[in-house]
Amino acid sequence: MSLFPQHIATLNAIADRIVPPDDDSPGAVAAGATDALLAMLDGDLASLKNEYALFLAQVDMEAQVAFGKTFATLDAEKQDLLLNSFQMSAFFRMLVEHVQEQYWVSEAGIQLVGFEPSTPCPPERPSKDGRGLGVRA
């Protein structure tokens, strides 16, 4: 089974509820997390591609039944409501981790937490007791 545009639209919408965009930082889609995940579904996670297609179709079907719209076209509040109903789904919890992984390895995620120091490394060499260097109180 392949992932069709409808699946991908649903995946993107779910991912942006898992890591939503903010004024100061992109969400999962803009960070490239879903593109990376889709690439994984043709690579390391290829064995899960069919299950992904089934799960994404199920989410969309439940959106249609509950609200008469595709998941991607629901507002954020309804999307969250629907996703909350999947909290006990092992597949959903795994999908959450897949998206989070790709977000926290993305440039956006790494910058958001301030992983790299904002000031250059100190040029001084350490003293014998290691004190007084690299510390900005």
Partner: protein, 537 residues
């Protein structure tokens, strides 16, 4: 099939094998060093946050390759085949340098009492706790030799839990980080002595290579400026430069061949899958505690102790949240430790103890997977905002406990599963002794106490509660050293009992694995073993 003569074959180019190659070639021996991994550059090893030796979610960056599966046997007898980057494999890197290519380089000497666990604490029922047949004093000169030959940054005057050093470390400690300074203040309030963590990372230029540039990717990765000192850029580099060492990579040893009590040589599959035989005077096995035991068993050795007592380290750790930003992004990140709880905890009904220290810089993806507080949602704005607002306000205290070994924690040869060359793979079974959990819970409470004293307003991270199988990057114990062939695999010179020329120079020979990272002890003992070989051969 080719036929080449060397004086000595060393199987495994990791911590122990590299040291042995250096010592033996310096003494004029002609050495064949066989490694199943390959020589890896920094660029080849990469900086993939999901595929490294710290987090191998989808693979790793320094081997072993998938040609080497293992079998995990569960308590109920069921089994599963695992690939090297999957849970349960007990992986250590397989490359030239072995684990030392990508390690964090915590260069600890074991505590004198680490060598005398049974006589200090007694033997818990069901455990195989025992004393080493050698003491700290026997290893001290070799610790010193490898600290200088490898390059360790530290301050001997602060190592007050050890006998006085003869020579200080060759480099001063790494510079202090902000979390380190905070933890030193916290420990001082508790009255705990702290010390700069000795690291095999250049704090100043040393042996022609530069000082650490303090990047955020240290443990789990190769070094971008070659400031991290592993077996590959020190001992092995010197052995190769001597002109007396041939290094064969991507080569899998099939068997050690014996004639009576004499090892005559090995057969191995080279990188083109050709079976090659090589004859020798002496064989040194340094393939790591899992593969060394498997190789001996597959080669026909029948000593029942081979493969038992597999141990590594049960780790404890806790994460604290601080009011202010504590993260400064300056690597490698480990600066400050205490050995206050390594021993002397009998009043708490605890055997041994362990070292505690701050941690290497944690990749955001690893933080997300392992360090998040349990009460934060796993998705949605709250999860994202927690990471944004608090990653830089957290710090960790972690440490290895002195594992209490069990004879049932075991490497055997799997009866059916074979690797790519048709050689039976290792089967892993059993767990560490339950006493290890008691020690871990004790040390975990100390980690929490330290974080709170340092000013953490919230601390999380549970202690281990169920014994699992230890091994992994700190694997040890499967060919333990001893005087009695009925209770050990090698004699105190690390020669396999019942042979005249087969030695082991890796963590396999550790009787117990100390409450500290083990590589420096592996190197020091390999140094001692190799010097003994030079004297005997």
């Amino acid at each position: 099939m080719s036929n080449t003569h060397y004086d000595i074959i060393i199987i495994g180019a990791g911590a122990g094998g590299g040291v042995a190659a250096d010592v033996l070639t310096a003494a004029g021996k002609r050495v064949l060093l066989i490694e199943r991994g390959r020589t890896q550059t920094f660029d080849e090893t990469g900086r993939d946050h999901l595929r490294n030796q710290r987090l191998s979610q989808y693979g790793h960056n320094a081997g072993p390759s998938n040609d080497h599966p293992r079998v995990v046997e569960h308590a109920n007898g069921s089994t599963r085949i695992v690939l090297p980057w999957q849970d349960g494999y007990q992986a250590n890197a397989a490359a030239v340098g072995g684990g030392t290519l990508v390690y964090g380089g915590q260069a600890w000497r074991f505590h004198p009492l680490d060598f005398k666990m049974a006589s200090t604490y007694g033997v818990p029922e069901g455990s195989s706790l025992a004393d080493w047949p050698i003491s700290y004093d026997d290893l001290a000169p070799h610790y010193e030799a490898v600290e200088h030959a490898l390059g360790v940054a530290g301050d001997a005057n602060t190592m007050t839990h050890l006998p006085t050093y003869v020579r200080d470390y060759p480099m001063p400690p790494q510079p202090l980080t902000r979390p380190g300074a905070v933890h030193r203040r916290g420990a001082a309030q508790l009255g705990w002595h702290t010390l700069p963590v000795p690291l095999a990372i250049n704090s100043v230029p040393y042996q022609g290579r530069p000082a650490c540039v303090r990047c955020q990717h240290c443990v789990g990765f190769a070094c971008p400026v070659d400031a991290k000192n592993g077996s590959q850029n020190t001992f092995i580099a010197r052995a190769l430069a001597s002109g007396k060492c041939d290094l064969v990579t991507e080569a899998m040893v099939e068997k050690i061949h014996m004639r009576d009590d004499h090892a005559t040589g090995v057969t191995y599959f080279d990188s083109l899958d050709r079976r090659v035989s090589a004859e020798v005077e002496v064989i040194v096995v340094a393939a790591g505690a899992v593969e060394t035991a498997r190789l001996l068993l597959h080669s026909g050795f029948t000593n029942d102790d081979i493969g038992r007592h597999l141990q590594g380290h049960v780790y404890v750790g806790a994460t604290g949240l601080f009011d202010e930003e504590i993260y400064d992004g300056l690597g490698p990140g480990v600066t400050t430790a205490t050995a206050r709880w390594s021993h002397g905890n009998e009043n708490e009904n605890v055997i041994g103890g362990g070292m505690l220290a701050d941690d290497f810089i944690i990749l955001p993806a690893i933080f997300w997977k392992r360090e998040m507080p349990p009460d934060v949602p796993r998705w949605g704005a709250a999860a994202k905002h927690w990471m944004r607002d608090n990653y830089r306000r957290t710090a960790q205290i972690k440490g290895p406990i002195q594992d209490i070994p069990s004879p049932h924690a075991r490497v055997t040869v799997d009866p059916t599963v074979k690797d790519r060359w048709g050689t039976p793979v290792a089967r892993l079974s059993g767990t560490t002794h339950a006493e290890s959990i008691r020690t871990a819970q004790f040390l975990h409470a100390k980690a929490v106490e330290w974080l709170e004293a340092s000013g953490a307003t919230k601390v999380w991270g549970d202690p281990p509660s169920v014994p699992g199988l230890s091994g992994g990057q700190h694997q040890a114990g499967t060919c333990r050293m001893g005087d009695d062939p009925a209770e050990s695999v090698v004699d105190p010179s690390c020669r396999v009992h019942g042979t005249d020329n087969l030695y082991i120079a890796d963590g396999s020979v550790h009787v117990t694995n100390g409450g500290f990272n083990p590589f420096l002890t592996i190197m020091a003992n390999a140094h001692r073993t190799a010097e003994g070989i030079v004297r005997s051969w």
